[in-house]
């Protein structure tokens, strides 16, 4: 973050971004802003009640997203966005809770929370802005940095094996897994909209350029060169086996929607289990959306004068 970029919010997104907080802190050419635009666009297009949407971020350049979106928003500690989101969702199940944070935050220091939230099928949306680096602290290696890429703490090249995040999320139990690059704005927006509709742990990875650090250190040109790289190397493969989604240094990037399945969420399971053992006395914790939907549909039908279904 060496310079401040002057960016005016396009009028249509004014309500969903905090205009009073502009200009933002991101470098010119940084991909984080594109992801925010897609997110903002998706919130506009979806039928979600914006008062019931909450955004949680950890720490990092990507972690600053929470501060710019005009929803209930929590900028937390490094790696801990997911457990904060878990608490928020469980305290008020009516909320749609979205985590937006970086690769280091979500899968390095926060990796344990990531796999456990997926395992529990916690009903949250997690968007990972993967720039292959710790941007905020100056370009160190992360769990997703491709092998051989240069980082400030791997000055002779990274010799570790990186995570493939879709594989990790899939294996841990996520019910929705997609990957895009920041070039694919329409797909990102659509994926976020789909994730809003899903019940369960939804994960969207967006491969994003960090112009100032990752690109410069690896002599990969500027943001435009990266978009060109994405253009030439992104391979759309919906339903791809997530075991085959690894990313090599400047190699092919498999993109698409890889996983879309249904299974009971954490709260569905808790309610089911407690009902079974406690019986009729058990009061469902938080109204789960299907029941709420049914109830609301019945109300709407009654209001319209139709006989109850």
């Amino acid at each position: 973050m060496n310079q401040k970029a002057e960016v005016e919010i396009k009028a249509p997104l004014a309500g969903v971004l905090r205009s009073e907080r502009m200009p933002h802190i991101w470098c010119p050419g940084c991909g984080i802003g594109s992801v925010v635009t897609c997110f903002a666009e998706a919130t506009k297009r979806s039928k979600l009640d914006h008062d019931k949407l909450a955004v949680v971020s950890g720490i990092g350049c990507s972690g600053r997203v929470a501060g710019y979106v005009n929803f209930d928003s929590l900028h937390t500690t490094h790696g801990r966005a997911i457990p904060v989101a878990t608490g928020l969702k469980l305290a008020n199940p009516d909320l749609k809770v979205v985590v937006i944070s970086g690769d280091g935050d979500l899968t390095g220091i926060g990796g344990n929370h990531f796999i456990h939230a997926a395992r529990r099928n916690m009903d949250i949306v997690v968007i990972c802005i993967n720039n292959f680096t710790y941007g905020m602290t100056g370009g160190q290696v992360t769990p997703t940095t491709p092998t051989s890429a240069n980082a400030s703490t791997t000055p002779y090249g990274n010799y570790e094996y990186p995570f493939s995040l879709p594989f990790l999320a899939d294996a841990a139990g996520a019910t929705y897994v997609a990957r895009w690059t920041s070039l694919h704005s329409r797909n990102i927006t659509q994926s976020i909209e789909e994730a809003f509709q899903k019940r369960g742990f939804s994960f969207i990875e967006v491969i994003t350029p960090c112009t100032t650090l990752y690109l410069r250190r690896n002599r990969l040109g500027d943001g435009v060169d990266t978009l060109q790289y994405y253009q030439n190397n992104a391979v759309l493969k919906h339903g791809a086996d997530t075991r085959e989604t690894a990313i090599d240094f400047q190699g092919k990037i498999i993109i698409g929607k890889f996983v879309d399945r249904e299974k009971p969420t954490y709260l569905d399971s808790a309610n089911r289990c407690n009902t079974k053992f406690i019986g009729d006395d058990y009061q469902l914790y938080g109204k789960t959306p299907p029941e709420k939907e049914a109830e609301e549909a019945a109300k709407a039908a009654a209001a319209a004068g139709a006989p109850p279904a």
Partner: protein, 388 residues
């Protein structure tokens, strides 16, 4: 401040025979806590187990998180989601929570954390008592800040003080700690849970005005600034960064001073209202035995024996350990010959006593490493020596 009677759903009124850990869970439910995130650790686990068992019938939720960092993070989310929240732990877990205790302090998030202390450092004495985390609770997270810590000496007080802890955390928007220990946590005694109508509960002060007037913070060195909860339409922002009244980052020395002064003074400035101590025969005392938590129960015996020997000995029990009763010690130290302080640690709170006594009287630390309570005769000996 809106004080209401407890929600009867959470109150299991009547006499019980239970240990301190269970009493903490009952106190939390009575106080209106409906979200508990925790991770097992001896000797605190029974609190989590009782909460987990009682939660479904009360309409509360218990979740066992993947670690203590996640537990306290979930409390921060839970509180801003609108619930009263708590967790319980012991030494190693408490150490893991420290970073997010700072976030809770900085974001002025009400919550209650019980530390059923065991001997340390490290894994230490997992099943044996100690009071070794008394400084950690006050200073353990990085940066300057302030908190409230209460120290119960019986299962009944575990129940009562947990309710008080929730109330204080709502009034001052600060994490409040129950600093108990293995002995009290595992000691079974009679605990009387009053009927719901007799339990006073402080409701969360939620902002109700127009949206444009909402500010999550008010840096007035008081505690009562209203908060909100996600979903109410106020679109709040909170951050661990130094921030302004809107919760937006403002990272300047000037703003840091405003925030820090507020965080520290909202507790210090209200110390008189917060601090509770129990005094016995301080008037005319030559020596005062000062203690807190389980150590007070042992000290009682030493005091009785000393009185039998004709020594004028008073006793001062700290129910509130933090904020520390500075003025009380200043006054006392100019009237007595000595203050004798037994603690199950190498001498922690006694440093505060020394600081406040400032040489006006002798201060005798009867320190005692973790694992067991004091032998009352050791305290007696210290009393006898102190009055010579």
């Amino acid at each position: 401040m809106n004080i209401v009677a407890a929600d009867p759903k959470g109150v299991d009124a009547g006499p019980h025979f239970m240990d301190g850990d269970h009493a903490i869970a009952e106190g939390a439910l009575a106080a209106g806590c409906r979200f508990f995130a925790g991770y097992p650790i001896t000797p605190s686990t029974e609190t989590a187990e009782r909460f987990a068992e009682r939660a479904p019938e009360v309409g509360a939720l218990f979740i066992q998180m993947e670690d203590e960092i996640a537990s306290i993070a979930a409390l921060i989310g839970g509180a801003w989601g609108g619930q009263k929240v708590m967790t319980v732990t012991s030494g190693p877990g408490f150490s893991l929570m420290l970073e997010n205790i700072g976030l809770a302090v900085m974001t002025e998030t009400p919550m209650v954390i019980a530390n059923v202390q065991r001997g340390g450092p490290s894994t230490g004495l997992p099943t044996l008592t100690a009071q070794q985390d008394m400084m950690q609770v006050r200073f353990g997270s990085h940066g300057d800040y302030n908190i409230i810590a209460l120290s119960p000496d019986s299962p009944q007080e575990c129940f009562d003080l947990t309710i008080e802890a929730f109330n204080l955390s709502e009034i001052y928007r600060v994490p409040v700690f129950i600093m108990t220990d293995e002995t009290v946590g595992h000691m079974h005694e009679k605990v009387v849970v009053p009927p719901a109508s007799e339990i006073k509960v402080v409701e969360r002060n939620l902002f109700k005005g127009p949206k444009e007037d909402f500010r999550p913070y008010g840096f007035d060195s008081q505690g009562g600034h209203p908060m909100t909860r996600a979903g109410d339409g106020y679109r709040f922002h909170i951050t661990g960064l130094t921030h302004n009244e809107r919760g937006y980052p403002v990272m300047t020395p000037e703003q840091n001073k405003i925030v820090l002064t507020h965080l520290i003074e909202k507790i210090n400035g209200n110390a008189d209202k917060i601090i509770r101590v129990e005094e016995d025969e301080l008037e005319g005392a030559e020596v005062v035995v000062m203690s807190y938590g389980i150590t007070s129960r042992i000290a009682v015996r030493a005091v009785q024996e000393a009185r039998k020997k004709g020594i004028k000995v008073g006793s001062l029990r700290l129910i509130t350990v933090w904020p520390f009763c500075e003025q009380k010690i200043r006054d006392l130290s100019s009237k007595v010959k000595a203050i004798v302080m037994p603690e199950i640690n190498y001498g922690q709170i006694v440093r505060e006593v020394e600081r406040c006594a400032a040489g006006r009287c002798k201060v005798v630390s009867v320190n005692h490493c973790g694992g067991a309570v004091h032998d009352p005769m050791v305290i007696l000996k210290a009393i006898e020596e102190a009055c010579q």
